[in-house]
């Protein structure tokens, strides 16, 4: 087994406003992870900025909590801004 660490990769596309998770790479350190991410995830002109984060640094929600955490939001349509008419000057909502 290679002594490599798993990193999660985030790419910002040319017109994107934020970095988006695209996948993961293995690497010995963060610098190498950036190079590997560049090779795997930007070779088809996908982005202009890269972040890598050690996978172990991410705290994730528990899949078992899906019902109690996320399903209650399903029937609360009043929380969406769909009842308002957006003024033309408002950009990304």
């Amino acid at each position: 087994m290679l002594p490599l660490t798993l990193f999660e990769v985030f790419v910002r596309s040319k017109h994107g406003l934020s970095h988006k998770h695209v996948g993961s790479v293995q690497a010995a350190n963060a610098a190498m992870a950036l190079e590997n991410a560049r090779e795997l995830y930007t070779r088809r002109n996908e982005g202009i900025s890269l972040w890598v984060v050690e996978a172990s640094a991410i705290s994730a929600s528990n899949p078992e909590h899906k019902e109690s955490w996320f399903e209650p939001a399903e029937d609360k349509t009043f929380r969406h801004a769909s009842f308002y008419k957006l003024p033309d000057g408002v950009g990304h909502m």
Binding site: L2, Q26, A27, A31, E35, E39
Partner: protein, 256 residues
């Protein structure tokens, strides 16, 4: 077609650039399916294909100078070993990962200053090809120098392998930094790079990277091998060409 000496010099120089990129690219592609892990596999192929793309540009230009119905493919696949002008360094077998990466590093450390200088060549077409390639090669050098540092500083095993790789390859580096008459002429005409600048840049890159990698810099290889410009290659090029050229030679009408 009869050419002036200076056109002949340009043609030879285009073959040196194109053949070196092509053979280095072919060597990298020999790692396809064999790289130590997936990320490296992709990286090696990306670099290899960058170089094959650059080779196409240089050889297309060379083919135009050659005239008749010459094409880049014709130059790549229908020339024999003695007509190839690539650096001896790049035809050396891949060996282990230390050797592959050190070979790449020596090549990149030469390739980058050459391309940087060619960006201001009086030959506009050469300048345009170099300007496109220089971005790719800046990254190649960053990657290969990081690997030299990583393996040199890694375990005692990886360090030993880098020392072994250096002992095998060093003799072929004299060719990178020793100009011949034709290259001196191209420099004087404003077409080619200043050979002194290339030598200084190459040595500076090697010394500083080896320093970070805790690898010993060997004495200048005055007695190094540099016969490729006369078409005299090591025993490895013939085998490489036999494999690379077999398909277009067996099926001359084959198309993509």
């Amino acid at each position: 077609m009869m050419h002036s000496q200076s056109t002949q010099d340009v043609f030879e120089y285009l073959l040196r650039l194109g053949d070196s990129a092509l053979i280095q690219g072919q060597r990298l592609c020999q790692w396809c399916g064999r790289a130590p892990f997936l990320e490296e596999e992709l990286a090696l192929m990306n670099v290899g294909l960058d170089l094959v793309g650059q080779a196409r540009h240089w050889l297309e230009y060379a083919a135009e100078i050659q005239g008749h119905d010459c094409t880049a493919d014709r130059l790549a696949f229908h020339r024999d070993e003695r007509a190839y002008r690539n650096l001896l360094l790049v035809e050396q077998p891949n060996g282990d990962y230390a050797l592959t990466m050190l070979k790449q590093f020596f090549y990149d450390a030469w390739h980058l200053p050459v391309l940087q200088a060619l960006c201001c060549s009086s030959d506009r077409r050469m300048g345009a090809i170099a300007a496109k390639a220089v971005k790719e090669v800046t990254y190649h050098l960053q990657r290969s120098s990081n690997w030299v540092e990583r393996l040199g500083n890694g375990t005692s095993e990886s360090h030993q392998r880098m020392v072994g790789a250096n002992n095998r390859l060093w003799r072929f580096t004299a060719e990178l930094v020793t100009p011949d008459k034709s290259e001196q002429m191209l420099w004087a005409e404003g077409v080619g790079p200043d050979p002194d600048t290339i030598r200084v840049a190459w040595e500076r890159e090697v010394v500083s990277t080896f320093d970070r990698a805790t690898l010993p810099v060997l004495p200048s290889p005055h007695m190094g091998y540099m016969s490729a410009r006369r078409g005299l290659h090591t025993e490895h090029l013939g085998l490489l060409l036999a494999e690379m050229q077999s398909l277009p030679r067996a099926y001359p009408d084959a198309v993509w």
